[in-house]
Every structure is written in structure tokens, then in C-alpha cells.
Amino acid sequence: MAFNGHQREDEGIDEDETPTKQPRSEKEMPGCFKTEPHNEASASAGRSTSERRTSNSTMRHRADSVKKTRPPFPWFGMDIGGTLVKLVYFEPKDITAEEEQEEVENLKSIRRYLTSNTAYGKTGIRDVHLELQDLTLCGRTGNLHFIRFPTHDLPAFLQMGRNKHFSSLHTTLCATGGGAYKFESDFRTMADLQLHKLDELDCLIRGVLYIDSVMSSGPSECYYFENPTDPDHCVQKPYTLENPYPLLLVNIGSGVSILAVYSESNYKRVTGTSLGGGTFLGLCCLLTGCSTFEEALEMASQGESTRVDKLVRDIYGGDYERFGLPGWAVASSFGNMMSKEKRESVSKEDLARATLVTITNNIGSITRMCALNENIERVVFVGNFLRVNTLSMKLLAYAMDYWSKGQLKALFLRHEGYFGAVGALLELLHPS
């Protein structure tokens, strides 16, 4: 990116000197998503790379070019969605003493603030369990942190950025999601930050493929549910997403986007629905008076949706055999609520559960139709609606399996909602 270089010239100080001396093979460059075993070794052993650092001065020239393209710290990727802001932060762990010394105070303070806390302000949260350690990115080794906060707290975030003189670092802030467009001027006016805006679906796919590639050792990024139609034996199992194409990628955020992905660069948005995570939370707030996703999920876990929904058996006394509909299937979501007596007899928990089931099943149903229309058998569900939401994941796994008679497989990824932000970070490090 042109303006990276430009910034560096302005800066005049090469604060990021040391790493440029590292000889780096092309394979370690971000953007090469299929990490070779060799790279993993170097990625997981930060120290060994620093040893190699001085051993080969003939690589100096190439290292210079890496250095030229490598942006200055801090490295952030941001995804500003309708409900949540997702932030990934790369914390370099291979900082040399020389570097440490030269590191400007502002940068240091940001690094310390982010890495020494797990909660920020009232609503910011670092998902510690998702942290990726000893990751090699752009020739630097460090940890990738995953942070989120509600989009409506973005002003507070900007205020913090202003207080911490973020703009003095002259970093490029790569951001995706609708908020990158909507709040671009706020970033400029409130925090003196220039956003580099990126397409959310491009970032999403890039992020998914990257995270999956770096996670091939350790806990599997991708997993599925075995025996989804048998609640007693339904267990989470790791899944290797090698040779992933074609795949249907269903991103459930506030709304839902469904993408058919044929290769890293070849994908299309098949359709989407406005009945997504935002609908679940929005309806739950109206119906139960709750105010957070966690609250809503907690209630849902304790409720019983069959008191709210009208099932096939409520109408036909059992299965509707003429059409092969099982008695337990929902005939009408919230259908029992047409009756005054039943409205008065349900609990908030029941309503929360019914809302969750309704939204989840609907996503499952649309996804299944898209998979059939696109002739794709593998479906990967991502997005923050699935965060700590095993209920929905199991429902989706069940729905995919049952209605497709085992043809469709529902897959899930551990880093659920962070892929867009990861994709944005990758764009910063290795512009496509």
C-alpha cells in the first residue's frame, strides 16, 4: 500500500528497525494461508527465529523489502458490525531490547493496556480463550488477541484512542464492517484517525481461511457435532477443513449473509436474511425486558419453546403423515400465543427459548435451501450469534442433518465472530 511507505517517510524514525534484519522466507509471509510445517516450527518458537536473525546477513536485501512492506506497530484489524465491534490485536513478543528502548511511550501504553486487561471500560471484553500464541505474522512473532465491545460504545473507544494519542503512531487502521463506512468521519474528527476501509465479505473469507490454516495444530478451529439427531450422544468433534471448497459460509451477525465460496478469491453472496442475531436479541429485549445477549441466552437455556410454539402434533394429534411431518416439528412459531390463556401462562424463559429456536431454525431452513440450490454439501456457520450458544449450534446441526437426511454437514469455527477483523488485519500486513 502506497500510504504505508509514505507514513514511514514522514515519521523519519525507523522504530521498527530490528525485525527487518530477520531473514524471512516467502512462505512465512501472511497471505500464504497454507502454512507449511517448517513455518509452524518457526512460528511456535519465537526464540529460534531471533537466533537465526543475525546468522545470515546476505539476506539483508530481501529483509529490507520485507521491512519496506511491513507496516509499523501497532497492528490492528477491526470489524465494526451493527451490534458489536470486533478488534484483533497482534502483540509482538519478539521485541528486542533495542526495540523496546525505541518504542514510543504511546505504543507501549496501548500494548500494556490491551494485554494486561481482559475487560475494558464497562463493556469491552477480551476473549482470552481465543488468543493465538506464538503466531508468526509478517516476520514477527507474537500473540493475537481478540477483543469485542458493543458498537454503541464506539464513541468511548474513540475517546480512549484520543486520550492515548493513538493518532501520533501514524498507524493505518484497517477496518471492515458497515461501521467502517458509517463512522469513518467520527474516527477522523474524534480521534484523528484515518480508516482504511475494507469489504466485509472479502475480510470474512480471508480471515476464515487464515485462522483455519494456522490452527492446524493444537485445538482444532473447525468442529462439528456427531450424532446431531440424538441428544444423548451428540458430541463436539474436531474437523479438518482441508480442501474446503466449495463451501457455504453462513455468517450470523445482527443479520445473516450466506456466501458460496469456491476458492479464496472466488465467492458470491447467495442471499441473506434480516432474521439474525439482532432479531433474537431485539425480540428478547421486547418480550422479556432483558438487555444483553448473555442474559437472553441464559433465559433461553431455561425455557421451553413448545409452550409457545404450535407443533404439528398440536394440530394433528401426532405426525402429519400425508406430508411426512413429524409431530414434534414446529408448525407455527409463536402459534400458541394467538390464544389469550396461553399468552398468560408462558414464562419469559419460554419466550426467550422460542425466539432462539425460531431464529435458528429459520436460518437453518434458508441455509439448507441455498445449499441445495448451489449444490454444496458443506456448511460453515460463523458469526457472534453462535458465541456461547451451543443451543443454536446443536439446533443447526440437527436441522441440517435431519432435513437433508444426512446429506448436509454443519461445521462451526471456534473464532466465531472474529474472522472479519482478522481479515482486516491481514489486509494491513499483506494488501491483496
Partner: protein, 783 residues
């Protein structure tokens, strides 16, 4: 899915003492002869169906016996009015609250005791089972709801032209009616009851539920009741129509600040339904929440419907169920959703008689032994109440009241009706030239015109039955009924499908029949036929004296002049009534000189110089001078050229149009004086068939099956359509796969003006289908 039956004890008590607003005998008509009942009890409405027979008068003509002929007057034939029994289907829709009252009424008037069983369907059938069995003494026999629905749907799609429509909220006319497809299959039926069922229908007996959704009408109602504390479905819709969803929904622009350009998602698109209500500290209005909910559900159903349509490669998607049922709000949101998701490739179709489908289907299930599907049925405009106003601004309570009793009556037609095999593209054929539903100026004129003509029609109706003292009273009832229909149509032009001159004429015929005026013109026709016949030989002789070329022109002028004699057109009936001497010759002088308004006479003459046609199908118009002095000589010339002729005339009376019965007698008489006609009949080169219609207009997609067969057998290569009703009001733009000739004189100054001509302008439209050389028929030479 079954509809939900809402029977709050409070409301049923409250509504029980409501009295029926219309006299019940005007609702449950012909109950005395009723047999076979079916009932469909839904969430709020009950639909009752029964089969009955109607005795009504028909006019018959009969040749006098040779023996008695001398004794009788010098009349050509005898007119008699006979009683005829025809089958009629009655469908009545009313609120569930009236069930008991209605059952009592039926019980009291049910004379026929042979009926033992009542077919029942709908979610409420089992709730009322006991009541029905007790009140009527009939055994309730439950039928599968979906099967009934599909059967009913097939029936209305096949038998009611303009059954399906596209809804366009902001268009000049909200409803755009679809032409009847020759093949109604395959189609997708999306039934939105409490849940959604998506059914693929491939043939009369083959259908499959390919999918569905639990997010349906019950979700709107149930969730809506929770969110807004509003109990009634109608009220929820009313709330929704007043709300602003943007305060509740998270739009693309709420996330992006504008549109999401690279995906072509506009800023106003909903990104997340209820996305803005994810907060504890904000209040939302009932209206806004209801609107948001309506959008959410409609969009979701629309999206699923599109996905299923795409997967099964279907382009015809009909929507029904209580969620839709004539509610403009839901029709609009569903239409919007379908347009959005298919980018206009699939249109959401709705049905005028959607509410009756279950009842019709249940009835058909019970009547299978009568094989009702082997007949064609026609909507009786006189007995049907038509589509109610669905103006979105109307109060739901008002709507409920005005729609308290809805009726649909279908007459069994004597003949099975099919497409003319010579239509170029049956699926795009539209009989009517002008759609008065869309053309407000034309609508105003024609409604006025028919209202103006009403006095004359009443007068003539009374005059046609001089021996019946109560004729005046009946005629008055006819006047009221038809005037009421005209008034209804003024406010709801779409009540019976697209409003056209044809439908106005047909409605008038139905109303006349309703009050036992089967043929008000019978005497006039008889007189005219008598007089014209006297001039026949003279006319033929003078034509024979002309040179070939002069004769061809004289024959065409003869047909056109004859066509001026038309009691149906106001301008002419005035002249005829004030000046009975108005003669054939005068009529010729009245004709426009060439070049005519539409004039392809030169091409026609050129064609005549070539080899003869194999067979001509001639749709004739009026009695008297028209048929006898205009058409028959023309036909005679065709026969002489070696062309076979099929004369198609109306099966039943309409205005002064010659009926098949009359034409039979007339041709016999002419044959007696004219060897050419006689030879034609004897050698079977001149054939008379009935069109299957009793309308002054012509719908080429609903013709007698026999006619279609004859046309095919004879390898018809020329279709001649005569008269304003058949060639201008209808079929002016009809494209045929063979040569066609449309001849008419414009006898209405408004229409003449519209077409850029003047009164008595001539339309002579000879057309050869593209790709066919005009003499392509030369393959067959006369034997």
C-alpha cells in the same frame, strides 16, 4: 397448516345475537334443491358450499311443422320459452359467529332429504362437528385440508378467467389480472396459515408438499399479540399499516451509514429485523413493532418461496391462506419480497376466490361421482358478490361488516370450453382490447354508457314478454340489480377480474337471465330475419350480375352494411327505433368511403385472386340483415370458390346476435331458395357449429370443444370475425396462426374517436401471420 380457530368465549357470546344483515334467502339461494354440502371452517370465517339446480327460462326457436305452417302466421319460426334445469354451485362465506344461525336457516329450508353427508375441512371442522351434525342431521365427513385446497385451486384456475392477479399497491389499478393459462400446471402454492406450507402441484392428482416454514400467520398473530397487546389479527394488520418499521429494524444504512454498494444492497434494506430494539431502555410504538413484524414475516416467506421456486424451476407462485386473504397490506409486503428476491423474475400471484378454495375442494371431493371436472363452469356475475374493496385505508371493522356475507355462484356450462386451436400463443392471448380497470377514462365512459342504455334494455325486456303481467316487476328488479352492479364496479372495478366491455355485457346477460328474461330480443330478431329473408334472392341476384372484382367489393360492403344493423349499439338502436325504414341500402350509404380507418382490402382482394382457402371459420354477429344479406352471400362466394365454411354462432342468446338455433332454421330456409347453399349443406362443406358462448363478445380461449375439433379436422386456414363486439371490443389484437379477417363498423362515437376515426368508420383488418406466405394455403386445391 390448519388455521387457528379463535373462539374466545367472550366474542362468541357477543356475536351470537348479531342478526344477519341480508335476508338469508338472498344468501342461501336455491336451497330447496340443494344437494351435496361441504363446509370449510377456518379461524374466523366459514365457507359453505352446495350444489343445487336452478330452474330458469330459456328461449327456444323451432321451425313450424310443414303441416301446421300454413295454419300459423307467416312467421319463419316459432319462439317458445321453456323451463330448463341447470346445475349451479353456491359458495357462501360468513363469519364463524353466524354458524349457528346459518345452520338453522339451512335446516328449515332444506327440502331435499337425500343428503346424508356433509364434507368438512379446515381447522375448525372438528370443533363444530357436533353442532353441524346436531343441527343438520348430516354426518360430518372430514377431508384432508391440503387436498381440498389444491383441488379448489385447480378448479378456480381452470374455470374462472381472471382468477389470478398480481398486486401493485402504487399502480393505477391495484390489481393486474392474469389471463387464463391453457395449462395451469405446474405451479407452486404457498399457503400461509398459522404456519406456511409450500406445495408443488404438477397435475390434478399429483401434488407434493415440498417445504414449509413455521414462521407464518400464527407467528405474526402470536408474536404480534405479545408485543402489542392487540388481540385481533385484523387489528394487528391495521396497526402494521400505520407503523414505521425503520424505528425498530436495523437497516443497512444504520450499519453502513448508506448503502452497501459493492453488493448492491441499498441503505433502506433491512439488515436485521428488530435490530434496534435490542435495548432495555427504549420504548417502541405498537404500530412500529407490528410493521416490523409484518415485514420480517413477509420477507421471510417470500424468500423461502423464491428458494423453492428456484429449486423446482417453477415460475408461477400463488399465495393463499388467512395471512393473505384479501389483505392489501400482506399482499403488498409479499409482492415486494418476491420482487426483491427474484429481481422480478417471479411474480407473486393471488387468487380472487382464495378464501373459497378449501370449500370448493371439499365439495369436489364429495361430488366425485358426478365428475364435476368433466364440465366447464362459469362464474355467474349476477349471483356472485365479487372481490370486496381492499382499500388499505379502510377500517378493518368496516371491512369485516361489508364482507359479512360473500357469495360465489358458478353455473355448469352445457359445453366444455377449450382454446381455439388457431391461436398463435394461447398463453399470451387476451381477448379484451381495452382493460377498463386500468383505463379510467374508458371505464367512466362505458359505465355511463351502460347505465344510460339501461332504460332501453328494461323496456325491451318487458316488451319481450307481453303475456306476462309480472314482467314489469321483474324487469324493475333486473334494473336495480344491474344498476347496483354498475355502481359496485364504479368503486371496485376489479370486483370480477378485469373490467371490460365484455364483462359489462356479460354481467347484463347474467342479470337478465337471473330475472327470467332469457332473450328479450327474440321477437325483434324474428321480425328482422323475416324481412331480410324476403330480400335474399334479390340481393344474391344483383351480386351475381357484377363482375368478379366488383362482386368481391360488394360482398365486403354487404357484410359491413349488414353489421350496421345492431341493436346492441346505442347510436344504431336509436336510429332503428325512430326510423324503421332504415334500410340496407341506406346503411351502405352510411358507410365510410375507402380508404377505411383500417383498410387492408387491397391485400384481401389480391389474396382472393390466388387459390381458395381450405376452410374458413366465420364468427357471425347479428340476426336479420347482417347474417342474411351480409354474411350468407359472402359465405356463398367462399363456397363457390371451393372453400369449406364453418359458421360459428352463439349457443345462447345475447342481444340481437343470431343464435345457433336460429341460424339452423335460417340456413335451411335459405338452402330451400339457393342451390349453392343447399349443395354446401348437403355435401357437408357448409357446417354450423355453436361457439359455446352466450356473449356479444368473443373469448377465443373459451370455445365449444366440438368447434375446436371441427376446426382441427377441416384444417381451417382462415378465421373471419365480424362485428364490434367480437372484432373490436375483443380480438382486435388477437394473433392467429392462420390468415384472419376482422370486419366491423364502429357504431359508437366514443370508441371511433379513441381509434382515430368517426361514427360508422370501417375496420377491415386482413392479417397473415408472419413467416407464412399469403398464399401458403395453395397446397390444397378445390376438388
Amino acid at each position: 397448516m390448519a388455521e387457528f380457530v379463535r373462539l374466545d368465549s367472550s366474542t362468541s357470546r357477543h356475536t351470537m345475537d348479531k342478526s344477519i344483515t341480508l335476508p338469508p334467502d338472498e344468501i342461501f339461494r336455491n336451497l330447496e334443491n340443494a344437494k351435496r354440502f361441504a363446509i370449510d371452517i377456518g379461524g374466523s370465517l366459514t365457507k359453505l358450499a352446495y350444489y343445487s339446480t336452478v330452474q330458469h327460462k330459456v328461449a327456444k326457436v323451432r321451425s313450424f311443422d310443414k303441416a301446421t305452417k300454413e295454419a300459423a302466421s307467416d312467421k319463419l319460426y316459432e319462439i317458445s320459452v321453456q323451463e330448463e334445469v341447470t346445475a349451479r354451485l353456491h359458495f357462501i362465506k360468513f363469519e364463524n359467529a353466524y354458524i349457528e344461525t346459518c345452520l338453522d336457516f339451512i335446516k328449515d329450508h332444506l327440502v331435499n332429504t337425500e343428503t346424508k353427508v356433509i364434507k368438512a375441512t379446515g381447522g375448525g371442522a372438528h370443533k363444530f362437528k357436533e353442532l353441524i351434525e346436531r343441527k343438520l342431521g348430516l354426518k360430518v365427513d372430514k377431508e384432508d385440508e391440503m387436498t381440498c385446497l389444491i383441488k379448489g385451486c385447480n378448479f378456480v384456475l381452470r374455470n374462472i378467467p381472471h382468477e389470478a392477479f398480481v398486486y401493485a399497491k402504487h399502480a393505477d389499478s391495484e390489481f393486474r389480472f392474469q389471463t387464463t393459462q391453457p395449462d395451469i400446471f405446474p405451479y407452486l402454492l404457498v399457503n400461509i396459515g398459522s404456519g406456511v406450507s409450500i406445495v408443488k402441484v404438477e397435475s390434478e392428482d399429483k401434488f407434493e408438499r415440498i417445504g414449509g416454514s413455521s414462521i407464518g400467520g400464527g407467528t405474526f398473530w402470536g408474536l404480534g399479540a405479545l408485543l402489542t397487546k392487540t388481540k385481533r389479527f385484523d387489528e394487528l394488520l391495521q396497526l402494521a399499516s400505520k407503523g414505521q418499521h425503520t424505528s425498530v429494524d436495523m437497516l443497512v444504512k444504520d450499519i453502513y451509514g448508506g448503502s452497501y454498494g459493492s453488493l448492491g444492497l441499498t441503505g433502506d434494506l433491512i439488515a436485521s429485523s428488530f435490530g434496534k430494539s435490542a435495548t432495555a431502555d427504549k420504548e417502541f410504538s405498537k404500530e412500529d413493532m407490528a410493521k416490523s413484524l409484518l415485514h420480517m414475516i413477509s420477507n421471510d416467506i417470500g424468500q423461502l418461496a423464491c428458494l423453492y421456486a428456484k429449486l423446482h424451476n417453477l415460475s408461477r407462485v400463488y399465495f393463499g391462506g388467512f395471512f393473505i386473504r384479501g389483505h392489501p397490506v400482506t399482499m403488498h409486503t409479499i409482492t415486494y419480497s418476491i420482487n426483491f428476491f427474484t429481481k422480478g423474475e417471479v411474480q407473486a400471484l393471488f387468487l380472487r376466490h382464495e378464501g373459497y378454495l378449501g370449500a370448493i375442494g371439499a365439495f369436489l371431493k364429495g361430488a366425485e361421482e358426478d365428475n364435476p371436472n368433466q364440465y366447464s363452469w362459469g362464474e355467474n356475475y349476477a349471483g356472485s358478490s365479487g372481490l370486496m374493496s381492499v382499500s388499505p385505508d379502510m377500517n378493518p371493522m368496516q371491512r369485516a361488516r361489508s364482507g359479512t356475507f360473500d357469495m360465489l355462484e358458478m353455473d355448469r356450462l352445457e359445453r366444455q370450453l377449450v382454446n381455439l386451436p388457431l391461436l398463435q400463443d394461447p398463453s399470451s392471448y387476451i381477448p379484451d382490447t381495452m382493460d377498463l380497470t386500468e383505463d379510467a377514462l374508458a371505464r367512466e365512459y362505458w359505465l355511463y354508457c351502460f347505465e344510460e342504455a339501461l332504460d332501453g334494455v328494461v323496456k325491451r325486456a318487458v316488451a319481450s314478454q307481453p303475456d306476462m303481467p309480472e314482467a314489469a316487476e321483474r324487469a324493475e328488479k333486473f334494473r336495480q340489480k344491474y344498476r347496483h352492479k354498475l355502481q359496485t364496479l364504479r368503486h371496485q372495478p376489479f370486483a370480477y377480474g378485469s373490467l371490460t366491455v365484455r364483462s359489462l355485457l356479460d354481467t347484463r346477460e347474467h342479470c337478465l337471465n337471473e330475472f327470467n328474461f332469457p332473450d328479450p330480443y327474440s321477437k325483434i330478431k324474428q321480425n328482422e330475419n323475416d324481412i331480410a329473408l324476403k330480400y335474399y334472392q334479390k340481393a344474391v341476384k344483383s351480386l351475381e350480375e357484377l363482375s368478379w372484382e366488383e362482386r368481391q367489393f360488394a360482398l365486403v360492403r354487404g357484410v359491413l352494411a349488414g353489421n350496421v344493423f345492431d341493436w346492441g349499439a346505442k347510436a344504431v338502436s336509436d336510429v332503428l327505433e325512430s326510423d324503421p325504414e332504415f334500410g340496407f341500402e341506406q346503411a351502405k350509404r352510411q358507410l365510410e368511403e375507402r380508404p377505411w380507418l383500417v383498410d387492408s382490402y387491397d391485400q384481401w382482394l389480391e389474396r382472393l385472386r390466388g387459390p381458395p382457402h381450405k376452410c374458413a371459420l366465420f364468427f357471425v354477429d347479428n340476426s336479420g340483415v347482417d347474417i342474411i344479406l351480409g354474411v350468407i352471400p359472402f359465405v356463398r362466394e367462399l363456397l363457390s370458390r371451393g372453400t369449406e365454411v364453418v359458421l360459428a354462432s352463439n349457443s345462447g342468446p345475447a342481444l340481437n346476435d343470431v343464435t345457433n338455433g336460429e341460424l339452423q332454421i335460417l340456413t335451411e330456409r335459405i338452402a330451400a331458395m339457393d342451390p349453392v347453399i343447399q349443395a354446401g349443406l348437403r355435401e357437408d362443406r357448409l357446417t354450423l357449429v355453436q361457439s359455446g358462448s352466450s356473449s356479444p363478445c368473443l373469448d377465443l380461449s373459451r370455445l365449444d370443444k366440438v368447434l375446436a375439433q371441427v376446426v382441427r379436422e377441416r384444417q381451417t386456414d382462415l378465421v373471419i370475425i365480424e362485428g364490434m363486439g367480437r372484432a373490436i371490443h375483443t380480438n382486435y389484437y388477437a394473433m392467429l396462426s392462420c390468415e384472419s379477417l376482422k370486419m366491423a363498423v364502429i357504431k359508437n362515437s366514443w370508441l371511433a374517436d379513441r381509434l382515430g376515426g368517426k361514427l360508422f368508420s370501417v375496420v377491415f383488418k386482413y392479417e397473415v401471420p408472419a413467416g407464412k406466405p399469403s398464399q401458403g394455403s395453395a397446397a390444397v386445391t378445390p376438388s
